[in-house]
Structures are given as C-alpha cells and as structure tokens.
Symmetry: C2
Subunit: 351 residues, 2 copies
C-alpha cells in the first residue's frame, strides 16, 4: 500500500484525496489546509487534517483540531500530491526533497518543476521510478486524451485548436471575466499547445485561447489534419473504444452545450457534478478527406483526477497502464459510452 | 401505499420522483415526458416512462421504449404530482378530474387552480382530504419557512423583503438576463408577498424583486418588525430548532455567498448539489429592538422537493406533520444544523 498525502485541499486536492481513498493499492494518510473553512472542518472530522507549522495557531484559534504539521505528514508518506495553487508547488519542492518523498505536481506548475509531464494515455510507462511527475492541466489533459487516441489509430499531421475557457470555477466568486471575451493571451499561440508538446514533443500543434464568462466547463474547437484520408465512422469508433472519452449523441440526448453536459452529470448522480471523461459531441465530428473538425468539453475541476491516481501507480510501478486505468475508472465510475453513463444513472436513481 | 405519478420529468419532476421512491408509504408508478432526451432515456430504462398519446410516435421514432400513455398512467395512481411548466398544469386539471385522481400543482400555477396553497411548516393539517393542492414556489417556500417559524416563536408585525432572483437554472441556456439587473416587476410589489398570503392571509408583507445574471440560487434580503423587542440569540435559536432551516456560520465556514452554499452542497455529496434547506447566513442576522435584518439563500431547483412529498402525506392523512417531516427529511438527508451537514459530508467522503 502506497501511503499518500495531498498538500492542498481545494478544487483538485479534495477530489484526488477522495479518489485515493477509493483505491485498494494506496492509502490516504492526510491532507493539508492553510486556512480554516468548512473543508478544513471536514478534513478535521475525517482525522486527516495537517497544517503548516506557522498556521497551527490560526487553526487552534478557530477551534479546529489538527493531526499534526505538514512536515510530520511528509514523514509518514511515500508520495505527496501537490495540489497547492498554481506556482506554489515549486516553493514546496525543497521540502518534499528534504523528506525524501516522491511528489506529483499539477499543471499550474511549469514543466521544469518536475522535469516530466504526465498523461495516462500518452506516457504512463515513462513515469516509472521518477521522483517528480507533473500531471498536465485540465485543458492539456483533454487535448492529450484526444490526440494520443487519434495517434494510436491514425497518422495525425497537425492539430489546431481554439480553447474556449471558462472564466472561473463555480465557487470562485472573485474571479472573472463576467462580461468580456478575453484573448488568452492576445499574443499567439496559447500555452496549451506548448504544454501538449511536453508530453508529445514531435506533434505539430498550435493553440489559441479565449476566456469567457462561464463557470461549468471549457470547450475546445479542434481542426485536425491527417496524413491520409480518414472515415468519420472510424474516428468515432476509435473515440468510443478509448478510455475516458465519452462520445455523446447530441440530438438524441439533448446534451447540446456545456451546461447540459454538467446537468447530465448531476442527473446520473456524479458527486459534485464531476465529469471525469472528455466529452465529445458526436454531431460535431465532421470529416472531409484528411481534415477533421470536432468540439469537446472539458470539466476543469475533475478531469485530472484519474490521471493523478494513475500517476501514483505509474511512479511506483504498481500496475500496468491498462490495469491502472481499469482500477481507477472502475472505482470512480468512469464510463466509455453514453449507454454506460445512463446505466449508472439508472442505478443511482432514487438511491 | 399511495400510488404516485409525476407529470413532467424536468427540474422539479425528476427530484420529486426520486424523493417519492425513497419513501416507505408511497410508490412511484410512472413519470411523463413530452420530448425525447436523456431524461426520457433514463425514465425509459427505469421502466417508468409514460407519454401523452399524441407523442407516442415521436418517442417510437427516437427508439425510446414507453410503458404507456399519460391517461393509462393516471388510471394506475391515486395522486399525480403536476410538474409541468408554469401555467401548463391548469390545462391538465380536467384530465386529472376525469381520472378521479388527486393532484399536486406547483407554484408556477395560480392559487385558484388548486384553491389551496401548501407549505409544510404553515398549514400541513389543512391539506387533509383535499383533491387539489398547490405547493408554493421556491421563493415563497423559502419565505414561508422563515415566517411560520418566526410566527411560532414571536409576534411578527410586518415583513419586507427584497428577492434577488437567479436568472435561469444552470441548464437553461436560452434564458437570461446575462447582463442586466431586471426589476421583477418594475411596478411594485412583486407577486411573492401576495403568494405568501395565500398561505398566511393575515400577514403584513410586501416584497420587491430583481432578477440577476446567476444560476445557482436566489437570495432574500429581509427586514422584519416584531410587536415587541426580540433578542438575536433567541431568533437564531428558533431558526436552529426549526426543520429545513440551516443556519450557517459564515465566518468559520467561509460560506459567504450563494456560490459557496452550492459548493458546500457539492462537497458534502448532495446529488445534483441540491440544498433542500433554507440557508440563513448567521452573521447576517441583525437585531435592534423590535427590528431584524437577515439574508437567506434559496436553492430554486430543490427547495420544494420535501414539501411535495409532505403534501402527498397530508392529502391522504398518512402521517402527522411532525411524522411526515421526520420521514421526508430522514430519507432525503435534510439536516437542521451545520454540524449535521458536515457529519453527512464525512460519511459521504470517499464513498
């Protein structure tokens, strides 16, 4: 049993912590918070709460019981999932090194912080024995799931993508925009394509991005060229067979926008309306000759959860890629088809 | 066992249907949909789907199996919960009468459609033996829970409230506003106060309303006058003791806005992030002499769910008010204190 700490119990941390608890080959030892709030209360009641030394007094004042300090936690574990805010993970790296623990950083850190960027479907095996791994960001994870699936089945020549990003997560009341479409950045390209290349260096990819006033999910508009003509049905079949990609029949389901993707997640009983799968609108897949267009939805809060769990297995050589995907996806209820998702909804209904 | 149909399987219908399935003194026989979509697929897989006669062909074309027609469903049940769009319930009333079933309408219908408006904490006993009952709307339900709790404990002289309404539900992509604050209506007062009086006719209440560009919840800003001075602690204690009112310690929890109320619901594992409880911000309760201010949050999609279940029990005399509240709230996981909600979150964590 690999012993796991999660440093940071926010949007990513709380999800990864729960996911780790559901695995049979790893155990969650503790999580950390820097500020008292209801999540700290929850972690405290779970007997999982650790805080940085200099925050002990703050938590004591708030009357929230802690199990110990972050440093004490690091002494008890084999690996820490760093889910601190973007750019902060780097600051913690020396501490992880000091305690001799492996660490998994998130996509908010630069590639160089870990020196190895990870995406299950692309480079699972290469993570073996690494001390530091970085799970790429939500948008990059979404792009890579699609790209590595396509590359496994077809000769991909180039990828051009426009990333339409949500402005903030639902609970982030202080972030915007609330009435603008923001080029992100205005000097092309966006970092997403560059980030994809940390995992698939030989790919011809360029991305552009805008931020819009929504909270529920990102949407990618893709233009992909292949070396030779492909058939729409073959592409759809490859996507349907792939793990963690969910092709949704737009017309039949009525799931025609990102809000309805999330409503579907709510209705089938996903905790926190999490949609771990990359969602592809079936009717958006258009092929002519060797060129394809496609639109896909990325649930920014949850899509990297399974990849974090896989990264732990990959680093410790606990399981093959296929076995890790099977374990992670079964435990989280991740599906491969719309039919399976509905079946899950049937089972959860009224329970 | 009272046999229940739910006519309309949308925002309210799907929630009431699930809630009915969780009760031990009533049974869900079927639900209806007028249009094929993933909810229709879900209902079909559950063996619960009925459709109006003139829609049979549409569903056949979409390849969605149905159990029968709405009229056939009405022959099988004792009561129908009408969860059709606002104003449409009235059109169905003659059909319900024809089949001799009791019917529960929603707040989107006028009071006169049922002739009796219902809110559990205010007038449960009066619903006994009624053929038609109307469960008041989400905002009116929120106001009435507070008002009837206060009236039970104090002498309420007058209620003045500003209702800040969400513009649309999260999945309602075609509704607005998305960049305006809309007086609702501009000719005062709003209908909410008038609607409250269908349940508590002798109350001095005036309400005003604006609609804002959010989707997650409504917020009420209340100004209440009492006949004599009250103590803040006594009011808070009365609210804490009351069913379906949840006083949240704003500062300790970090739950300082409607988005964070919903994030809390997500984190404690509420399906669809439903918050059945009326949420009162503890720190917003301000008392001076006989005057009080208070802010409260109403989750528009789910708050009327428990009242619909109670209405069924009340109409058939299945249980006393206290017993119905106990059954409904236990089955739906409705809590009375923030502490209880956290405990529920602890139990659900990682499960």
């Amino acid at each position: 049993m690999v012993k796991v700490a999660v440093n940071g119990f926010g949007t990513i941390g709380k999800r990864v912590a729960e996911a780790v608890m559901k695995q049979d080959d790893m155990t969650l030892v503790g999580v950390t918070k820097t500020r008292p709030d209801y999540l700290a209360l929850l972690a405290s009641k779970l007997g999982l709460l650790y805080v940085p030394q200099d925050r002990l007094e703050k938590f004591q004042k708030a009357g929230i019981e802690v199990q110990g300090t972050l440093e004490e936690l690091l002494e008890k574990v084999d690996v820490v999932v760093d889910a601190t805010p973007g750019g902060v993970g780097k600051e913690y790296k020396p501490l992880y090194e000091k305690h001799g623990v492996k660490a998994i950083f998130q996509g908010g850190e630069k590639h160089e912080v870990a020196g190895f960027s990870f995406s299950t479907l692309c480079n699972y095996d290469e993570a073996k024995d690494k001390q530091f791994v970085r799970v790429v960001s939500c948008n990059t994870t979404g792009l890579l799931r699609l790209i590595c699936t396509l590359r496994q089945n077809f000769k991909v020549k180039s990828v051009r993508a426009t990333i339409v990003r949500r402005g903030a997560d639902p609970h982030e009341t202080k972030k915007g925009p609330i009435d603008a479409i923001v080029p992100n950045p205005v000097t092309l390209p966006s970092h997403h394509g560059i980030d994809v290349k940390t995992v698939v260096p030989d790919l011809d990819i360029q991305t552009t991005a805008v931020v819009v006033p929504t909270t529920l999910a990102h949407t990618h508009v893709l233009n992909i060229r292949f070396e030779e003509p492909v058939k729409r049905e073959d592409v759809l079949e490859a996507l349907r067979q792939a793990p963690r990609i969910l092709v949704i029949p737009t017309e039949l389901s009525g799931v025609k926008d990102s809000a309805k993707v999330i409503e579907l997640a709510r209705d089938v009983g996903r905790k926190r309306h999490d949609m771990y799968e990359l969602v592809v609108y079936e009717e958006s897949v258009a092929v002519e000759g060797n060129e394809m267009f496609l639109m896909q939805v990325v649930h920014q809060e949850s899509i990297v959860t399974p990849e974090n769990v896989d990264a732990i297995r990959a680093m410790f050589g606990l399981a093959s890629k296929e076995e890790s995907i099977r374990k992670t996806d079964t435990s989280l209820g991740i599906v491969r088809t719309f039919e399976e998702l509905l079946e899950a909804g049937v089972k959860a209904f009224g329970k």
